[in-house]
């Protein structure tokens, strides 16, 4: 660890305290991604070309093409707000049918959109593999000398 505060090297005296505080955070295990490391957005940083990036992006979007139904837990510091939060959650559980119905439709739309992007990308890759096409008719350009 390197740590310089206002020009003074503080790695030796403040470093262990920072390290201990960080260890306490890790032990509490408070940060987790919704996805495995192989499916994290960070894998996009490993792409070497734009084409590779696009393939990975489409794969990741496919995994993320839905809105979670699970209700989040808002952070509350004091007991009164915690109680208010619990009341709100109780009311929400009685009223959420309409919301879930809408979100379900939205999720289907998002899935279809992700599918469309993936199919379009596959289509373009197939075109690139099999040679140029006529941009108007989408028909293959015949090789030179071929009879039409």
């Amino acid at each position: 660890m390197k740590l310089t505060i206002a020009g003074q090297d503080r790695a030796a005296d403040l470093g262990p305290e920072i390290h201990a505080a960080a260890n306490a955070l890790v032990t509490a295990g408070t940060v987790s991604s919704r996805y495995a490391p192989t499916d994290s957005a960070l894998v996009l940083g490993g792409a070497r070309t734009e084409a590779e990036y696009l393939r990975e992006l489409i794969r990741l979007v496919r995994l993320r093409s839905a809105i979670s139904f699970a209700a989040p837990t808002p952070p509350h510091r004091n007991p009164l707000r915690r109680l208010a939060g619990a009341l709100r959650a109780a009311v929400w559980n009685r009223l959420r049918y309409d919301h879930d119905h809408t979100v379900n439709q939205l999720n289907v739309q998002l899935k279809l959109l992700a599918d469309t992007i993936e199919f379009q990308q596959q289509h373009f890759e197939n075109i690139l593999k099999s040679g140029p096409t006529n941009p108007v008719t989408d028909a293959r350009t015949p090789p030179p000398g071929a009879s039409t």
Binding site: M1, T4, I5, A6, I18, L44, G45, E50, P72
Partner: protein, 359 residues
Amino acid sequence: MSGGTARVDQLVAGFALGDAISHEALLLRDVLRGLGYASDIVAPRARIAAAATADCVPLESWRPQAPNPVIAHYSTASEITDALLAHRGRKALVYHNVTPAEFFDGYDDRIAAELRRGRAELAKVMRAADAVWADSQYNAAEIQSLCAIPVRVFPLPFAPAVVDVAPDPAVAARFSRSMTNILFVGRMVPNKCVEDLLHAFAWYNRGINPRSRLILVGSNRTAPRYYTMLRMLARDWDLTTVCFEEFASPSGLSAYYSAADLFVSTSRHEGFCLPLVEAMHKQVPVLARATGGMPEALSGAGVLFDEMAPPELAALMQRVLDDAPLRATVLAAQRQRMVQILGRDLREEVGALVRELIT
């Protein structure tokens, strides 16, 4: 008129408001004009931002006159390289560093190729220059081996007027002090490693202070694929208080700095990093990775770190935010640093460099 020369123009690879190199070119132009030189900023037409055309002459219509010197700002390959090499007058090069192309691989193949070409052409450009100025010791050390002449250090100038404007009330209202505001200002590009900051913020927000916000201010147009990755990452960690604010006007920028409790940069490649200076000027404690030109920008002020895991950086952020004596020490050192920065006589420095270039 100084030195008997009528005109000193500047060449830049691109020109846009809010960009650090464009900002320096504007300051230099005003100083040069104040010294009695005619001076314009020149950039390829396609790379002049629409909002900045009044301050920049298209390269395609630029007609240089042989005895007049030019100052070229170098940060990547562009059409200005050929114009500079063809110029028959004296040439000064301001080296702003070339970002390693590997950062852009996958995010933008065209920019990555330009940066590789920028590195490859560097030696040729350096040899053609009559004077080489670098905006930090870090940049000077990197290129000295390519130059037969000594590289002069001319630190990136800072104009307080840019952030000393009335804060945008709309921005100020959105980011009131009811939450802890952690700020980063800079273009959203891969070498800034904003993902490291997001990761540290995730630990801070979840484990230490749920009533905290991360405010990311900077253009996303240079590397939109990188920006997409950042937004996806914030969603993966379910970080609902990360605010992607994009490009800010001067009044917006002033409001962001006024609302900030802490400025953090996890960038891994910087030639100098002007936002650190802006944050110090606005009395915001600064945490920055000890890499590139950032230690020089802080120069004994702020907090420098490296080799820290995200939870450790989160713990350090908490320490600087909550430990009042430590925070006071950091702010006092930053005030001292700002006295140095604001005490620079830019007119004298530029005048001496230009006289040296001409003779």
